[in-house]
Symmetry: C2
Subunit: 341 residues, 2 copies
DNA sequence: TTGTATGCGTTATCAA
DNA sequence: TTGATAACGCATACAA
C-alpha cells in the first residue's frame, strides 16, 4: 500500500544510460568539482531530459539530514499561531527546508504523539509551543537526551534549551494599569485554558497590579477557564444579563474578547459604554476597535526559526539563548474613560 | 551539517543484542505473525527498554511510503485556509500521517517550488489549492504523469483529477441579488488577486445578476485587484473620501471587507449607514456584524483529505470525483435596507 | 577524472 | 519459527 507511483529515474538509471558510475553522477548532480566539463554537461542534460528528481528520502538516509523540521503549535485556527507559523516557514524556506505542521489542539497526549512522530520522521529540528501548566515535560527532556535540536516558545522548568518568551506578566500589568488609569476599579478577567502559562501570568499581572492600587478583584468576575469563542460568548451572555457587571473586562486573548463583544451586541449592549473590553494578540481581522496588547508573534517565529537553524548547522551545544519579547498595549476604542463624562 | 544526533537504537542493534536476525526483529516489531511468543516478548521488551523508535526515513525508502502528505495553500494567515488546513490535518492524523504545510503566498513560482519539494520528499499524496488564473499548469500535469495521488481545490482546465470546488459564481449572484432586494442599484465590487478564479467567478455572478435586473455597474466602482488588507484599507479611504460612493460594496473576502470597514470607521463613517458592505468566507474572528457568504472550508478540507487517502490506499480506483459545495449567505447588519427608512 | 565498494535502517524474499 | 541476503536510492571513502 502507499507506493505504486511511476518510478522516477534514479541515479542508477542515469549511470546505466551514460555508462558512467553512480558516484560520478551523484558528484556532478551535487555540484562537486573534479569532473570534466564534457561529462558534466552530458550528465546535467540527461538529468534534465529525464526529469530526474532526487529522492530526498534516500538522501536523508545516507546523509542523515532530512531537510525538514517540525513545528508544533496549539491551534491552527488562531491568528496568534498563524503568524508564528508564517515566521518559522519563511526561515525554513530560505534554507531550502520544509516544515511539518502539527497542532496539538491544547491536548498534551496529541503533543506527545506529534513529537514522537517527528522523531520517527527524523526531522532535523523542532520548534515547539508546548503546553506549560499542569502537564509533564518528559517528552521534551527526552528530546534533549536524544540531542535533537529544538527551540521552545515558553520556558520549561528545569530544562536549558533555546527559549523564547513573551512578557505576559508585564502585559497583564499594562492592561490593568491602563484600565485603572481610566477610572476602572471593578474589573473582570477571563482566563484561557489552564494549560496556558501565558494566561496564568497575565492573570498574576492583573492581580498584582490591582493589589498595588489597593483594589481587590471580585472572585466572581474571574472566569477560570475558557477554551473557545463559544465559551467566551456564553460568558458574554451571562455578563450581559447580569445587573452586577464589572465596568471593564480583561480577556486572555482577542478571540475571547470578540466572543464577549458578540454576545454583548446580540444583547443590544454596547462596548465600551456598557462595559469596557480589552484583549491580547492584537489580531487584525476584527473590524471592531478593540484595545489589545500587541505581541510580536511573527518576529518570534522568525527568531525561533533562525535560532533553530543555527543549532542544526553549527551545532554549538553551549550557550542556550533566552529571549523575552516586550508586549505593547494598543489603545483603541473599547475602553471607556470613566473620568470624562 | 545536519545529522550528528545521538544514534537511536536500530533494528540491527536489537538483533545484535538478542542474537536474533534483523528480519525477525523487523517482523515482530511490525506485528507480523509466525513468531514464537517467547521471542516476541523478548524483542518487544528490549525495544521498549532501549527506547527504540523506528526510522521512518529508512522505512520509507524500503517500503516506498513515507506516511506523509503535502498541503499547498495560498496564505497561512487567512482564516479561509486555516479551516481547510484543519480539516486536512485531522484526516491525516486519523491515518497516522503527517502533513507538510506549504504556503505559496499567491506566487506561482513558489507554488511550483513547493510541489517539487514535495515530490523530492516523496510524499504519498498532495492536497493542492493552486493558482488558477493567468498561470500555467504544467507542474500539475507533471504530477499526474508521475502518478502522484493528489486532489485540488478548484478545477484545472483539461485535467481530470479529484476536484473540489465552491460555487463562487452562485455566491456572487446571491450577494448581488440580496443587495438589489434591499434597494441597492449602485453597487461596487472589490476583486481579489487576478490569479484567483474564485474572485473572477464571484465577479461574473455579480455582473450577470446586475444585468438580469437591468442594472449597469459603474466601471469606476470595480476594483480590479486587491491583495492585502492594507490595499483594502486604501480602497476604503478612497471610497470614504469620495462624494460619489456606491450604496453597497461587495468584497472578494471578509479580510478585504474588514479593511474597508476599518477605513470607514477611521474616517468617521458608518457601515451600513454610509455604505453597505458584504463579504465572503464568514470568518468568525470579527466582532463586526458583517453580512457574509459562508463557505464550508472545514468540510471541504476533510473531504479532500478523505478522498486523497482513498486514492493513496487505492481503496478506490474509480472515476475521479468532482464535488461542488453550495455557498450560503449569512445576513447580519452590514447591509442597509434602502426601502425602509 | 572516473569507478568500486560499502553503508544508511528497513522491508522482503527465500532458504534453512 | 528463524536466518541470510538482497534491495530501496543515494553519498562517500578509497582505488584506479
Amino acid at each position: 500500500m502507499g507506493g505504486e507511483s511511476v518510478l522516477n529515474t534514479t541515479i542508477a538509471d542515469l549511470a546505466r544510460i551514460t555508462g558512467l558510475a553512480k558516484s560520478t553522477i551523484s558528484g556532478i548532480l551535487n555540484g562537486k568539482t573534479g569532473f570534466s566539463e564534457k561529462t558534466r554537461k552530458k550528465v546535467m542534460q540527461l538529468a534534465q531530459e529525464h526529469g530526474y528528481i532526487p529522492n530526498e528520502i534516500a538522501k536523508g538516509l545516507s546523509s542523515r539530514s532530512t531537510k525538514s523540521i517540525g513545528l508544533i503549535i496549539k491551534d491552527i485556527t488562531n491568528p496568534f499561531y498563524n503568524h508564528i507559523t508564517k515566521g518559522v516557514q519563511e526561515v525554513a524556506i530560505e534554507h531550502g527546508y520544509t516544515v511539518f505542521l502539527c497542532s496539538s489542539g491544547e491536548n498534551q497526549e496529541l503533543e506527545i504523539d506529534h513529537i514522537e512522530a517527528m522523531v520517527r520522521k527524523r526531522v532535523d529540528g523542532l520548534v515547539i509551543v508546548p503546553l506549560l501548566e499542569e502537564v509533564s515535560f518528559d517528552h521534551i527532556f527526552d528530546l534533549k537526551r536524544k540531542r535533537m535540536p529544538f527551540v521552545t516558545l515558553g520556558q520549561i522548568p528545569g530544562l536549558s534549551c533555546d527559549t523564547f518568551e513573551f512578557d505576559d506578566y508585564d502585559g497583564g500589568c499594562q492592561v490593568t494599569q491602563h484600565l485603572i488609569s481610566k477610572g476602572h476599579e471593578r474589573i473582570g478577567f477571563v482566563c484561557g485554558l489552564k494549560t496556558s502559562k501565558a494566561s496564568k501570568q497575565r492573570l498574576t499581572g492583573f492581580l498584582d497590579t490591582m493589589k498595588q492600587h489597593g483594589l481587590v478583584p471580585d472572585e466572581a468576575l474571574i472566569f477560570k477557564e475558557t477554551g473557545s469563542m463559544a465559551e467566551a460568548q456564553e460568558i458574554g451572555r451571562r455578563l450581559a444579563a447580569s445587573d452586577d457587571r464589572p465596568t471593564a473586562l480583561i480577556c486572555f486573548d482577542d478571540v475571547i474578547a470578540i466572543g464577549v463583544i458578540k454576545a454583548f451586541m446580540a444583547a443590544g449592549l454596547n462596548v465600551p459604554n456598557d462595559m469596557s473590553v480589552i484583549g491580547f494578540d492584537d489580531i487584525d481581522t476584527t473590524a471592531f476597535p478593540l484595545s489589545s496588547v500587541s505581541i510580536p508573534t511573527y518576529e518570534a517565529g522568525k527568531a525561533m526559526g533562525t535560532r533553530l537553524f543555527d543549532r542544526i548547522f553549527q551545532r554549538d551545544d553551549s550557550d542556550f539563548r533566552y529571549v523575552k519579547y516586550d508586549l505593547k498595549l494598543v489603545e483603541r476604542a473599547s475602553v471607556k474613560n470613566l473620568f470624562s463624562p
